[in-house]
């Protein structure tokens, strides 16, 4: 065939490219199979981790197969002198494509429906049980205002007009007696282990996002909306709260401390705060 001016076919290139794809396929699997997630500390988080592990496993395996195939195709095709398989029959093309397309759909939709959706539903649809710890959080540039309802179990009324950044950051209405025993903290949370925590979120200014990596909790807080979340911490420890939505130049340091402790310690801590 007349290929005088076509680019030369280097043997070395074929070797290198083919080897590269082979190594990439293996590398992906080796790198990906390490345990990357922050240690888990919540009940619904186990479901999220199952979802992630399922995806890591399926996509990792499929990528390994695909990269090996790619490597082989380059290897074989780079050494071939005549085309051996010009066009597949139209039927073959359709069957092969649809089969693999459906396989992927099964992997993807199957994951969503079988593993993902139940967790999603549990997380969003379960009403907060009556014994849940109630916390009211107001995010602002660049910290978290944290309120507990105090002994009466009811939050005092707040009004935006009353906000004074120095003396009354959340705008607590002193005319409302129920607010008198509210406990107010900044960037500090303390909750008992193995009891549902119900958090109501507000934002004063920008969009923030309440992200507890170890508890697999993330909820955007859009001003004007008051999303509520419920989850159950399952492991005692001190965890970090991060902001996961760009909210300004201090976004990267909008840190909170989220302590999960035994029920007794939790009660004592709240009593101490209340007496302050």
């Amino acid at each position: 065939m007349t290929h005088s001016t076509s680019p030369k076919r280097g043997v070395l290139d074929v070797w290198l490219v083919s080897l590269m794809f082979l190594l990439l396929g293996a590398g992906i699997v080796l790198y990906g199979r390490r345990d990357w997630l922050p240690p888990l500390a919540s009940r619904h988080g186990a479901g999220i981790d199952d979802m992630l592990r399922y995806l890591l496993f399926t996509t990792g395996s499929l990528l390994f197969v695909a990269f090996t195939a790619l490597s082989w195709l380059v290897w074989a095709g780079g050494r071939r002198h005549v085309v051996t398989q010009r066009v597949a029959a139209a039927r073959t093309e359709v069957v092969v494509s649809l089969l693999l397309g459906m396989l992927m759909a099964a992997v993807a939709e199957g994951g969503v429906l079988a593993i993902g959706m139940p967790v999603w539903k549990e997380y969003f649809e379960a009403a907060a049980p009556p014994d849940a710890v109630q916390i009211d959080v107001t995010a602002q540039q660049f910290f978290w205002n944290v309120r507990y309802p105090g002994a009466d179990g009811v939050f005092g009324r707040v009004r935006n007009e009353l906000v004074d950044e120095a003396s009354n950051p959340v705008g607590l209405d002193s005319a409302d007696a129920r607010g008198a025993d509210d406990i107010y903290l900044v960037n500090q949370f303390i909750v008992p282990v193995d009891r549902p925590v119900h958090i109501r979120l507000h934002s004063k200014d920008m969009i923030h996002s309440f992200f507890l990596p170890h508890l697999r909790v993330k909820q955007d807080v859009i001003p004007g909306m008051t999303p509520e979340i419920t989850f159950v911490p399952t492991k005692e420890g001190t965890y970090e709260l991060a902001c996961a939505e760009l909210c300004g130049l201090g976004h990267y340091r909008m840190q909170g401390i989220f302590k999960v402790v035994a029920q007794r310690d939790y009660e004592r801590a709240l009593r101490e705060e209340a007496s302050k």
Binding site: P38, G77, V87, A88, F124
Partner: protein, 580 residues
């Protein structure tokens, strides 16, 4: 063309689609240099947070006083990097640049349907690029609210320094860009519909043309909502409206007078554009890859018809999945379920496109020329990036991964990487057509190795930084104890990113050197079948001395019994049998 054409009419204010295409490409490459430099600064900060760089401090006394980057400057860098890369690099070079240059040639047209509109589109686009660059120099600096510009951050001038004049200029630049991009898209649609050469039926068009055609239609459908949103945001900023601002906002201790708006509305409008936009960028790259594989495999593309249908299905589905960017925004959990399921449906056509790429290598005779290397790289990035999409489109998994570096890794592989490799493949492949000279293969291959492997490494690793819980748009990861373990990874990522950037010098060298001193190219250097190779290189004004007549599809390689292993689309059936 008449000789009285002045240089200015011919090369500057030209209505010739080829000149306009090259103008777009060169402008976009210049913008890439800016966007890439910004990425370098970002990586400098993330690799060595808070370190002092006295020399940079002298160059940028405001952003890096005494050589240490300020958080507000970091955010401006990230925002401008994203904006420039998506709108003023990729959209310019890959979509408008090659779209302009290649589409009319490949369908056998003399020019675009509306040449004057085409020229206007370039100049308005250029104006947008200039405005975005100038915004660095205004009071408060460039916009810093992210390329997604979510209000209230982007709506309230006192929210952060970049939200002052910088954000207004950002919106202005976007408006100019959208106007320009719309004209250019309209032109492509009209050209493909009305100016195809005799015999060039739709189902004989190369997949490149199909991908540009479909991507242009998507652009036309998706941009209007963002245009409206941008205007509404300008009104919120300057005329005290409250489209995106709710009641009771308290910024920096001051209660704002706004009433009844919704920041969530912006997210819907933005992503109704934003998601299709990523396909507007990626489809042309896929089309180019699907067309390059046959040229260097010497066999027809696998599953031509299926690919066409899949491109269409992707386009339709992409308009109804925008909510997967908002799973944790607080929208109804039922919407989350819907958007998960619809997003996962896209895997079907996307997988088929991937399978068709692999199928095109089956039983092939492969030549690893530079454009082919980049096309193979596209397959790899598309595979890994696509699988990353399975994580993010799944609402349950996305709860943990949303707004972390997993997302950054994912979208860079797709709209950063597939498109980048597509751009390079296109440049190496069509350079002889544009300038009549061949680029150096040796340098081209070196460039491939210095691009593909570092790019893959950087963004593959970022997925795992995200799995460890590192949020994106963070100035530093030093505040958090649980992120300490990502520090070493960030150093590695930064070092490899610098290698990647240095590798682009090889490309710059090759490009400029080949432009002046490259080996003269023959008319059809790759022995390809499509129409652009049937005319001289570079083609004359009007493209073809005589409009060609098309007799077959674009993939007639290795027809049995023929001496030549390629049969151009213009060869009549009575000379060489038509095989599809």
């Amino acid at each position: 063309m008449s000789h009285s054409d002045s240089f200015i009419r011919k090369y500057i204010f030209s209505t010739d689609h080829k000149i306009i295409g090259i103008q777009y490409i060169l402008t976009g490459l210049a913008m890439a240099l800016v966007g890439g430099t910004l990425a370098g600064l970002i990586r400098l900060q993330l690799g060595w947070p808070g370190l002092q760089w006295p020399l940079l401090g002298k160059l940028m006394p405001v952003g890096m006083p005494s050589g240490v980057m300020t958080p507000e400057f970091y955010m401006a860098l990230v925002t401008m990097h994203g904006t420039i890369m998506v709108f003023f690099f990729m959209s310019f070079v890959l979509v408008s640049g090659f779209g302009n240059y290649v589409v009319p040639l490949q369908i056998g047209a003399r020019d675009m349907a509306f040449p004057l509109l085409n020229m206007l589109s370039y100049w308005i686009g250029l104006l947008g690029a200039i405005v975005i660059l100038l915004s660095f120099f205004v009071q408060g600096g460039a916009a810093a609210a992210g390329w997604t510009a979510y209000p209230p951050l982007s709506a309230v001038a006192s929210a952060m320094p970049g939200s002052a004049l910088g954000q207004t200029l950002w919106l202005l630049a976007m408006a100019l860009f959208i106007a320009s991009f719309t004209m250019s898209g309209l032109n492509i649609v009209a050209t493909v519909l009305s100016l195809r050469a005799p015999g060039m039926s739709m189902m004989r068009m190369p997949l490149t043309v199909w991908s540009y055609f479909i991507s242009a239609i998507m652009g036309l459908l998706a941009f209007p909502p963002l245009t409206a949103a941008a205007i509404m945001l300008l009104f919120d900023r300057h005329f005290d409206t409250s489209f995106f601002l709710p009641s009771g906002l308290i910024v920096a201790g001051k209660l704002l007078p706004n009433h009844g708006g919704s920041p969530l509305l912006w997210q819907h409008l933005f992503w109704f554009l934003g998601h299709p936009e990523v396909y507007v960028l990626i489809l042309p790259a896929l089309g180019i890859a699907l067309d390059m594989l046959p040229v260097f495999s010497r066999k027809p593309v696998f599953g031509y018809r299926l690919s066409v249908y899949c491109l269409m299905i992707v386009a339709v589905l992409s308009m109804i999945v925008w909510g997967h960017h908002m799973f944790v925004s607080g929208m109804s959990p039922f919407s989350g379920e819907y958007f998960s399921i619809s997003t996962m449906l896209i895997t079907v056509p996307m997988t088929i496109i991937g399978v068709n790429m692999l199928g095109s290598l089956w039983g092939a005779r492969i030549t690893l020329a530079t454009p082919m290397l980049f096309a193979l790289g596209i397959i790899a990035l598309f595979g890994v990036g696509g699988f990353g999409g399975l994580f993010l489109g799944n609402a349950t998994a996305d709860m943990q991964l949303h707004d972390t570096y997993f997302v950054v890794g994912h979208f860079h592989l797709m709209i950063g990487g597939v498109t980048l490799l597509g751009t390079f493949a296109g440049i190496y492949y069509w350079f002889p057509k544009m300038f009549g000279r061949q680029m150096s293969e040796a340098l081209g291959k070196a460039h491939f190795w210095l691009t593909f492997l570092p790019f893959f490494t950087v963004f593959f690793m970022q997925h795992f930084v995200g799995l460890q819980g590192a949020p994106r748009r963070y100035y530093a990861f030093t505040t958090y104890e649980y992120l300490n373990r990502t520090h070493g990874q960030n150093v590695v990522i930064s070092l490899v990113a610098f290698l990647l950037m240095a590798g682009q010098l090889v490309f710059a060298l090759n490009f400029i050197w080949s432009l002046v001193a490259g080996r003269a190219s023959e008319r059809n250097p790759w022995h390809a079948t499509t129409l652009e190779w049937e005319t001289s290189s570079p083609p004359p004004h009007g493209n073809f001395v005589e409009i060609p007549t098309v007799h077959r599809w674009a993939y007639e390689y290795s027809v049995a019994g023929e001496a030549l292993d390629y049969t151009p689309q213009t060869v009549p059936a009575r000379q060489v049998a038509v095989t599809a």
